[in-house]
């Protein structure tokens, strides 16, 4: 309840202090003067007026009283002038001031009424501005969320494709791992085979060496035998000639010579046989040599195979390294995407500010509408002569109502910082509370 005016507020302005005493003093002076006049003129008055005209004492009393009263009023007014002239002037000024104030109040009332007409559109414009702010922040936040959703969608697509690649890469790596194991087995088999080949080659070479040695050892013998056979044959021929020249004495010698010749022939035949055998041995040696050459050629080919195997192993190693690198990249991209999701989620949380701003601005809009209603009510009261000077609800009560309707600690704290109202301890409870 609010009292806006005191009905006795202008009484002290109209009457000067001490006026009661001055009125009493003027009245007393007038009464004394009236008594003095009555006493001075009573004999003359009785002789000239009362006695001739009045037949009874009651008539005399009535006339004398009337005359005394009639004289008292002008005397009172006369005596009031010196005592109350300043009060009269004072009252006149007060009346003029009151008239001016009343006129000014009427002017102000008209002005206030005129201004009050602008309050509803003023508040409506402010509310509209707040709506505009809300719409702008909302559209901005919506656009931001849409962009972040699109960003996440693109990123998710990339991650999915990378995941497919990762799956394929892991499959390929597994295949390559199996193939590497298989290749290693093959390489082991080939290495064993090459080792055996080298062993055979060494044996062949040894055999060739032995044959060559044997052939080499036989060749001088054939020449010696052949020379012996030729010389023996020549000797036998000479012996035959000498035996023939000796005649009968040489007959026995001729037999010997013939035997020697036969021996030389046999020796020559033996040399031929040996030569044949040497030829056979030579052919065999050549054959073994051909085998050895083939083995050498095979060994050379094996060296080429080893090189190929080595290169294949190197390629496999490089491929494994590449596959591992690819997997590392894929894992890094996946980790990056998870980090991006975390950060986007953080941003989404920050964007919740718009809802908080919206609720606070809507509360301000409500308060503005309430203020408008209050001001309009006051304006109506001012022009209402029957107003009981009570404003219900008062602005203070409306403010207290706001304090009850706030939902956020920040609203209550802002209110309390201005009004000094104590805020609740709701802020002491955690923002996240599981029951």
């Amino acid at each position: 309840m609010l009292s806006t005016a005191d009905p006795n507020a202008t009484a002290h302005d109209v009457f000067r202090p001490g006026i009661v005493w001055r009125v009493l003093l003027a009245t007393l002076s007038a009464a004394i003067a009236n008594g003095l006049i009555a006493w001075l003129f009573s004999g003359w008055l009785y002789d000239t007026l009362l006695h001739p005209w009045c037949a009874s004492p009651n008539g005399e009393f009535l006339i004398s009283t009337t005359l005394a009263t009639c004289s008292f009023v002008p005397l009172t007014l006369l005596f009031a002038w010196p005592f109350l002239r300043h009060d009269i002037r004072w009252a006149k000024h007060a009346q003029e001031g009151s008239d001016a104030l009343l006129k000014q109040a009427r002017i102000r009332e008209v002005l206030v009424q005129g201004e009050m007409q602008h309050v509803p559109p003023y508040i409506a414009i402010m509310a509209q501005q707040l709506d505009g702010v809300l719409q702008q922040t909302e559209s901005g936040v919506v656009a931001t969320i849409e962009q972040m959703d699109e960003l996440h969608r693109v990123s998710r697509g990339q991650v999915d494709r990378i995941a497919d690649s990762m799956h394929n890469g892991m499959q390929l790596t597994e295949v390559m791992r199996q193939q590497s194991s298989y290749n290693r087995d093959i390489v082991d088999v080939l290495n064993t085979h090459v080792g055996e080949q080298q062993k055979h080659l060494s044996l062949n070479l040894e055999r060739i060496q032995r044959l060559s040695d044997e052939v080499g050892a036989l060749a001088p013998l054939v020449g010696v035998i052949s020379d012996i056979a030729k010389k023996t044959n020549l000797l036998a021929l000479n012996a035959s000639i000498e035996a023939a020249r000796a005649g009968d004495e040489g007959r026995g010698f001729a037999v010997v010579a013939d035997e020697v010749r036969k021996l030389s022939v046999q020796t020559a035949e033996a040399a031929t046989v040996i030569a044949d055998k040497i030829n056979v041995a030579t052919q065999r040696a050549e054959s073994e040599l051909a085998v050895a050459m083939a083995a050498i050629d095979s060994q050379e080919k094996s060296a080429g195979l080893k090189k190929i195997i080595s290169e294949v192993s190197e390629i496999e190693s490089r491929f494994n390294d590449g596959s591992q690198m690819l997997l590392d990249v894929m894992f890094a991209v996946d980790a990056g995407n998870k980090e991006m999701v975390t950060r986007l989620s953080e941003v989404m949380g920050h964007l919740q500010f718009q809802d908080i701003v919206r609720q606070r601005l809507e509360q301000v809009k409500f308060a503005l509408r309430e203020l408008n209603d209050h001001l309009q009510g006051l304006a109506q009261h001012v022009t209402d002569s029957a107003w009981n000077c009570i404003v219900e609800p008062s602005l203070a009560a409306r403010l207290d109502g706001h304090l009850e309707n706030y939902v956020m600690d920040s609203q209550r704290q802002a209110h309390g910082s201005v009004t000094g109202a104590a805020t609740s301890d709701d802020g002491s409870r955690p923002a996240i509370e599981l029951f």
């Binding site: 969320i145 999701v341 986007l344 964007l351 919740q352 718009q354 809802d355 939902v407």
Partner: protein, 124 residues
Amino acid sequence: MAKTVLYVDDSTTMVMSIKSTLEMNGFIVETAGDGVIALDKIKKGLKPDLIITDINMPNMGGLELVKSVRAMPGFRFTPILTLTTESRSDRRDEGKKLGATGWLVKPVSGPNLIKVIKQVLPGA
């Protein structure tokens, strides 16, 4: 298997923000603008693994929604989180009494929200 979350809020930006956050983290999200719409969806067969609701909404607020959902068969143990600007203790206590699982005051960061969801929704 992805868990389904029903998010109830009358704020467009909150719905978009929470929906995106949850979907980024592998949840399936259904939304409703107030308690009446949410209840209607549940009555039509929606069986969310988790319900997250605002408190101050038109038509039907979050506390009334909690009370109604708890009274429905099959939702006695469904986790219900409130996500609201409302911070008054008496409202929190009322939410707890009606069967809410937890009370989250806006704003809540995405990672914190996911952390809370994993606490109340094992296997998420």
